[in-house]
Symmetry: C2
Subunit: 335 residues, 2 copies
């Protein structure tokens, strides 16, 4: 398998991408192409002592930055690392693409250069979150601000396939995020999506467990939490904010006085490993589900470890062959 | 001031309501009317030794329960404690009403029996949440699943008045919850609401600070976080779920082994008081903003202490005269 790495993407480019790629090559094998400014990348690779690793470089002179208009940058900067990387994927010069670049620009690249799977109305960006009992896939977590009931139905299917093939959940339980668990809850979008999901569940096409509330998401009541990208973004960011608030509160507790500081020493390793569960570098990235080839988005603030995690997930995504599963089941995912 | 207490409301009725009322009478003074089944309430009051407190009883034979249809119960059960309490408030037999009953039934009572303030399109149910630097009012947190841009504008004004008059924030910063901070973000509702809020801010009618993300809510970037009731419900419940998830994770950390259990003893008081910040019994309740008289909703699971807190906030709400402030400013709150 060959992975295309958009080496000039994200806040810590290109160092984090190169180091993360080197870590991945050592740990997982596979082949890699780093796309970006050749001299800089060559230099970094040499410093990493990566001469004998299966990593090559593809030169791309331009860089997408935060001032570029996401919707147009891939057409305007045709020799940017991101545009080159997307064209390479589209033309079969690699099996998956990993980028930590702007989400909007990646979504454009995924849908306009690589293209959606035939029959898929919108590509979705899911996020895998920790729960009390395992993991939950929040889908869509931000790619599509406005959705139709059919998009939500397709998100449910794509999320189920992802949890099955990549995370290894046998019969993923699908919940619809709503403002109450009763069947009659929600705005028109929720009510219509509920009817579609219920029918798909009754026919055994998915394992629909009904409406779920915000409080259920992290408590493990479902494996796939379906919502529109507006609500998904707000949910994801709210969790981030709540975790920061609680994390800083706990920190303050331990810093109160000498006695509490002493207490910290007794729980330090356990507390650190629990806090790491909430850390995005452990999760790494997410695929644009519904795109005809694997495009993996890493967090913009990714460090080398997070890039390594994103690569690992991209490998699992390719091996799980989620794209093919979606293609084969497209008839039961449309209305 | 006379407070009307719907004594048969909530999961712990009537005990929690009676005890909470007794606590409030001892601590805050004021007069109280407990509405509900007279013999039961008389008995509980006697057990509390409340003979000399300014608490009277109004008999109401029926009880609203969870099987009743919220929209119709007040018409169907005219002698329920809730229906009697709402009529008493409407007819001037008290200055405020506190109930821990079904939210939907209370919203019906507030809008159909007590009525909205003239010019207010919808009553909103706000929730006061802790932040890193103080408190934020989430409005609407669940009363109105579908909203127009004008509702959101009115929520911004009502929330500002509440934070000013009841919580004591001088110039409350208003943020619009959105899927990004840029001006252009959001679905059509957000874009139109943004324009209205921006104009009100530019004209100095409110202190609008722009779009805020989910992650900003608990970090103290605004004092009033405006959203529709669907998103508000999801945000509120997501925070609840995240807090439970993190709380149980922290608990597990301390229960790992003898060493960590020992560590717990060093931070116990500080940890407990931080966890209490997240506890709803400390917050107590919320008013239906936009209703022509003070209706205060306490959490359904309220214990006596939470009822006492709700009564305290209801007193502050009456003293702050938020209803009058809304009435006096109604012209600048409509489009």
């Amino acid at each position: 398998m060959k992975l295309i790495i958009d080496a000039m993407s994200g806040d810590n480019a290109p160092q984090a991408l190169v180091s993360g790629c080197v870590m991945a090559a050592k740990e997982f094998g596979q082949e890699y192409v780093l796309v970006g400014q050749e001299d800089i990348l060559r230099d970094l690779l040499n410093k990493e002592g990566a001469e004998n690793l299966p990593i090559t470089i593809r030169n791309a002179t331009e860089v997408v930055d935060m001032h570029d208009d996401p919707a147009r940058v891939l057409r305007r900067k045709k020799d940017s690392s991101m545009a080159v990387a997307f064209r390479m994927l589209a033309e079969g010069e690699g099996d998956a693409l990993v980028s930590a670049g702007n989400t909007g620009a990646q979504l454009s690249g995924a849908t306009l250069i690589v293209k959606r799977i035939r029959g898929i109305r919108r590509a979705a960006l899911p996020t895998l979150l920790p729960t009390k009992t395992g993991k939950v896939l929040l889908i869509d977590s931000g790619a599509n601000t406005e959705c139709t009931p059919e998009y939500l139905l397709q998100f449910a299917f794509m999320g189920s396939f992802y949890m099955q093939k990549v995370v290894g959940v046998d019969k993923p339980r699908v919940g619809l995020i709503n403002n109450g668990t009763e069947d009659t809850k929600g705005d028109p979008l929720r009510k219509e999506a509920y009817a579609l999901l219920k029918q798909a569940g009754d026919e055994g096409r998915i394992h629909f467990v009904g409406n779920v509330e915000g409080s259920d998401i992290m408590l493990g009541t479902c494996d796939v939490a379906v919502t529109d990208g507006f609500t998904g973004n707000v949910v994801l960011k709210t969790i981030e904010g709540a975790a920061k608030f609680l994390g800083s509160g706990i920190k303050k507790v331990f810093l109160t006085n000498t006695r509490t500081k002493l207490g910290y020493l007794f729980v330090k390793p356990q507390l650190k490993s629990f806090m790491a569960v909430m850390d995005s570098s452990e999760v790494g990235g997410a695929p644009f589900l519904g795109v005809s080839k694997p495009v993996f988005k890493a967090h913009g603030s990714s460090d080398a470890r997070a890039i390594r995690s994103a690569v690992m997930q991209a490998i699992r995504y390719v091996e799980g062959d989620v794209v093919k599963t979606i293609q084969e089941n497209i008839d039961q995912m449309t209305i």
